[in-house]
Amino acid sequence: MVFGGNLIDISAKIGSIKIKNPTILASGIMDQDAESIKRVFENGAGSIVTKSIGLKPKKGYLNPTFVELEHGILNAMGLPNPGINDFKQEIVKIKKYGIPVIGSIFGSTSKEFIDLALKMQKFGVDALELNMSCPHAKGYGLEIGSDPDLVYNIISNLKNTVKIPIFVKISSNLTDIIKLAKAIEDSKADGIVAINSIKAMKIDLTIRKPILSNKIGGYSGKAIKPIGIRCVYEISENVEIPIIGVGGITNGKDAIEYIMAGASAVQIGTGMYYRGIDIFNKICIEIKDWMENNNYKKLSDLIGVAHI
């Protein structure tokens, strides 16, 4: 048992992508530049999703863009990003460091997604994540991702154009998440990422106004985990393609819960606020401890067990 930990395999596979462990940095968290991404990778992340990148530099919303709340955090950054052309230098560096990287992109039309995807592929990303779920960006994100027909068209066109795997990040702010998940599977996407932050608001009682400059933002952190678990479970009941679970994961048991619901890997974002930049290493240790105590040797044996 002394070497027991070494015999436990927590590697993960999402379609054709293989990673050393199931923890992936979620988009929008310390992923604006290659050096920050390298630091997160050195703190144990199996893979990294970049900040969501658009065609042109975008300032995002004025501050306040961030509110700390009792059970989670609220943000409305407004998709700030340096634009795909300036981001090239970051991707090139990330790949030079040998880090498995998923390029997140957002667009308002099929053509925009194609332009971005082709550039990301050329720069060398290992896979793409389509942002179809940002809850507070006009004309992007959830505004695209709540229309299953539009989502189907965008992904189908992309699948005919790029070779690298395509993951699609979706929202829980939908009346029928299963319908969207099926449209994504039909479009031949390689995986579904669920969920993004959830539409929310905070009003200050003294000022008597919403705090966020955009008024509406996305709620993330501990409070949203049960919602994410439910979404992953429902999606997993209805589609065969891999799922990456995200929402409120702060420890190893949270990650295992998502995997039991049907996720092949997990993303961690706000968790860094609760447990620091080394949350990835911490969660991997906690996953191994749990597996050792429960006699599991391969993490993949746990995928979807809650359904059986």
Partner: protein
Amino acid sequence: MNSLKIKEIIKIKKENQYVKTIFFKYDENIKPGQFFMIWIPNVDEIPMSVSYIKRNIAAITFRDVGDATNKLFNFKIGDKIGIRGPYGNGFKLNREKIIFIGGGTGIATLAPAIENAYKKKFNIKIIIGFKNKNELFFDKRFGKLINNLYISTNDGSIGYHGNVTDLAKEIIKDEDCLIITCGPEIMMKKLFELFNTYQFQASLERYMKCAVGICGQCCVGHGLRVCLEGPVFDATMLKNIKDFGKYKRNESGNIKYF
């Protein structure tokens, strides 16, 4: 958790034509060099370092330079601001001999550290630089504490004629001291190069959004978060921050050279 608190302005002091200090009640711990995110409702939220730390009272000192500070400049006693923090690491007064070097509004950041060092009876010198005599502030505040106060102005209208780095070159001869600086980054970089054998701490400024170390907006060097691992960096860290004195990232994350 460090949630937003609404504070009423209890006192306003006009330091000069362009610089004001706003005081509010605050009774929790603040380390010199830490900062608050200051929310000016309907306008913006910006990081500002704490310029006074008294029992039950804190203050921020700022120059009227943008939308947010302009609105704040016209605030009156009784008006409300939101604060969250204090954030960041603050200065480490780990030497008994300290030379403080400040430029422009960076001087406000140094003030609580200077008063702290004075209370500890440390051997201190203060070198502060301004464009001209009309821009002077905190000179009387520091002058009350010590005799070793040196002032430079770019136009020579008061004190040493020239910039603060030239004045520092003339004054600093003693290797066995700690240099603590805050001001324009080019100035701090110059000082860092001039005094590369000294113990050194500089307080950096970057565009910030979350201020709690997750959004990545203020990262410098090898992924160091100015809001969390900074804003104060020592010589060992500064050597590895290649952006220091060279460039910062704007709201979109594009690199902008100084």
